[in-house]
C-alpha cells in the first residue's frame, strides 16, 4: 500500500523546484531547497513523529550508469 503523499507526487507539477529536494507532507510540498540536511532538521522540528517523504526534482535528462 502506497501513501497518499506518494500518490500526490505522481501527478504534482514540481517544475519550479528543478534541481531541488522537496519534502512532501499532507499532499503538498512542505519544504524545498538544495540543502537536504537543513530541510530534514526543519521538518523534524515541525513534525517530530512524522516520516519525511523526499523527492529530488531532476534538473535534466535521465542518466544510465554503467559499472566497469
Amino acid at each position: 500500500m502506497t501513501s497518499k503523499d506518494y500518490n500526490w507526487f505522481l501527478t504534482a507539477d514540481l517544475s519550479k523546484y528543478k534541481g531541488e529536494y522537496v519534502i512532501i507532507f499532507h499532499q503538498r510540498v512542505a519544504l524545498h531547497g538544495k540543502n537536504l540536511k537543513k530541510l530534514l532538521k526543519e521538518f523534524r522540528n515541525r513534525h517530530p513523529k512524522e516520516t519525511p517523504k523526499i523527492a529530488k526534482v531532476p534538473e535534466g535528462e535521465t542518466l544510465i550508469l554503467l559499472f566497469p
Binding site: 502506497t2 500518490n7 505522481l10 517523504k53 523526499i54 542518466l63 550508469l65 559499472f67
Partner: protein
C-alpha cells in the same frame, strides 16, 4: 504484492514521458525512517542515491573506497558502495547502494539485492509496476 505507479513528466527529448516511481523506506541517522521517492530503473546495476541523501543515512566518505562509474556520454560519477537496510512495502531487506558524491544524479532503484527478491512486472499500458515478493 506492492503496486507502484508512473509519474507523468516532461522530457526535453521525448515530450511527455511516464517514469516508474517507487516509495522506498530507509533508516536515518536519528533511528527513524525517511522515504525516498525513487525512479525504478531496471537498467541500473545498483541503486543510486545522491550525496545529501546518503549523508542523511549516516554514510561517511572513506577516500580509499571511492569508485568511478560512467553513464551515457562517458559522464563520470564518483561513488561509494554501501550496504543498508531498506523497506519496500512490508518487505525489509539489506541492499548494496551506490552513494554518489555529488548531487547531479536522481535517486534510482536498481537491481542489485532488490530485483532478485521480487518478481517485478512493468505494465506499461496500465502505468503500474507490480512487485511480487518471491516465496522462499
Amino acid at each position: 504484492m506492492i503496486v507502484f505507479r508512473y509519474r507523468k513528466e516532461r522530457s526535453t527529448l521525448l515530450g511527455i514521458i511516464y517514469r516508474p516511481v517507487a516509495e522506498v523506506y530507509f533508516r536515518d541517522t536519528h533511528g527513524g525512517e525517511l522515504v525516498s521517492l525513487m525512479y525504478i530503473d531496471s537498467g541500473a546495476d545498483i541503486t543510486l542515491i545522491p550525496k545529501a541523501l546518503g549523508e542523511s543515512l549516516g554514510f561517511e566518505v572513506k577516500e580509499k573506497d571511492i569508485r568511478e562509474v560512467t553513464g551515457i556520454g562517458n559522464a563520470r560519477v564518483h561513488v561509494l558502495i554501501r550496504k543498508t537496510k531498506i523497506r519496500i512495502g512490508d518487505i525489509e531487506l539489506e541492499a548494496k547502494i551506490a552513494w554518489a558524491l555529488e548531487e547531479g544524479v536522481p535517486p534510482l532503484l536498481g537491481r542489485a539485492d532488490i530485483f532478485d527478491k521480487f518478481d517485478i512486472i512493468f505494465r506499461e499500458e496500465n502505468k503500474i509496476i507490480e512487485f511480487r515478493e518471491k516465496s522462499s
